[in-house]
């Protein structure tokens, strides 16, 4: 019961923090572009504004277009509940890392189905790109999971977090590669191809408006935080006193987001085929990691 309550606090806390994290990212990005940038709470203001607005749907729409934002949101929230975040407690006795990956994957699939169901051609192109990237990144994630499984002999979240010990090269490499995957999965530049604004008018989001857009955007921010949290949990040692560990978590969350946004600021957008090619180059590296993990190097 206590555990459930702590997890609830996790969720609530993350729901509160996430837009602020995005606000910080925007601020940092603005500074790196010699701009003053919006206030840190700007993302919150945007979301609240969207939540106040009514949603306009297309004439062509069909059911998934309406429901998918909520399902996506639910997927992300449940995935967050499986991870130890602010309070280092989680519902991990309801699922392992495969469940987690599947929840993430299903979120992107529902986004795709929903946006295509709006009947807009831009949304369809965006969804296609999203699915293409998500599918290939699934392969990479599977390889990373395999390396984790070989390192720790397990797929459960208790065993996997943190990866080290063993302090091996393969462990470090695996974490680094997972970080790259998290970067790609969170659709930061140069990988923000599904929402390429100048090419295909925000792709998958083009037909969403008002509340549903708000929910969708919120769940995208949450997805980023989810990936960051996975990354942090892989690194952050377990046996810390509660307050320290929560602080450490939040600090490292901010650190990761600032790091990623700093990288993002100095990249242009890749074309979809270039992005896929880049992701394909990671496959052999991951295979090597698996092999050396097998030999405990």
């Amino acid at each position: 019961m206590i555990a459930q309550l702590l997890v609830l606090t996790n969720i609530v806390g993350l729901l509160l923090i996430t837009p602020i994290i995005d606000g910080i990212e925007r601020k940092i990005k603005a500074r790196l572009q010699c701009r003053r940038g919006p206030p840190i709470l700007q993302t919150w203001y945007d979301l609240l504004k969207l939540f106040r607005r009514p949603s306009i749907v297309t004439e062509e729409y069909s059911l998934p277009y309406i429901i998918s934002p909520y399902i996506v949101f639910a997927n992300i929230i449940f995935a967050l509940a499986l991870l130890p975040s602010i309070t280092r407690v989680s519902l991990s006795f309801y699922g392992d890392i495969i469940v987690l990956t599947y929840l993430i994957a299903s979120s992107s699939i529902f986004i795709a189905i929903g946006s295509i169901s709006s009947g807009s051609v831009f949304a369809t192109i965006g969804a296609n790109r999203e699915i293409s990237i998500a599918t290939l990144s699934k392969l990479l994630i599977a390889l990373v999971l395999a390396s984790f499984a070989i390192l720790k002999g397990s797929l459960t979240l208790e065993k996997l977090f943190p990866i080290m010990p063993p302090y091996t090269i393969s462990a470090i490499l695996a974490i680094v590669l997972f970080a790259i995957l998290a970067y790609i999965e969170s659709y930061k530049l140069p990988f923000d191809i599904p929402e390429a604004e100048p090419e295909i008018i925000d792709g998958i989001l083009v037909e969403y408006s008002g509340k549903s857009l708000g929910v969708l955007k919120y769940s995208m921010y949450l997805k980023r935080v989810l990936l960051f949290t996975m990354l942090i949990d892989l690194v952050l040692p377990r046996n810390l006193p509660p307050i320290i560990s929560s602080l450490a978590y939040i600090v490292s969350l901010i650190f990761v987001s600032i790091l990623f946004v700093t990288i993002e600021t100095y990249f242009g957008r890749l074309r979809i085929d270039q992005a896929l090619k880049f992701m394909k180059t990671l496959i052999p590296i991951l295979l090597v990691v698996i092999v050396i993990a097998y030999f405990h190097i």
């Binding site: 010699c34 701009r35 003053r36």
Partner: protein
Amino acid sequence: MKASRIEIFKEALKTGVVTKRYPFEPIEVPEGFRGKPSIDTEKCIGCGACASVCPPNALSIEVDAKRGVKRIMLFLGRCIFCGRCQDVCPTEAIKLSREFELSSLNSKDLYQMVELKMARCEMCGRYYATVRQILFTARNVPKDQRPLLLLCDECRSKVSAKYISYARW
């Protein structure tokens, strides 16, 4: 490749923040800036030179023959801030100020109007020109001919014609 990214990064840090919180802090405009024109109602004599040169017809003139007033209209919504009016104005009544914030919730704010009293012709009694215009011209007209200024164009031509005939005779 990476190196160039880092170069840009350094450059950005060196430059620092350049944007201003504009609505909350004013923006400096240089000397001779062509802002929104404003008419000095004291100086304006209603000659209408500005209206005739204004390319987008932001300035316009209308004569109210009944009440005997001449109106100079300036509609900023159409003004392109070229400053021709300033060039041609004989009394420097219309000037381009340095302010450029024209947005307003009420379209009335975009209109400026000068109403000028007009003088009647002494013979036919029509309104023909603004009083100020007559006074302005009076300055550089020889004393003996000034009375002619109190007449409208037609009457003046008639009268001057008479003078000339006298002269011949």
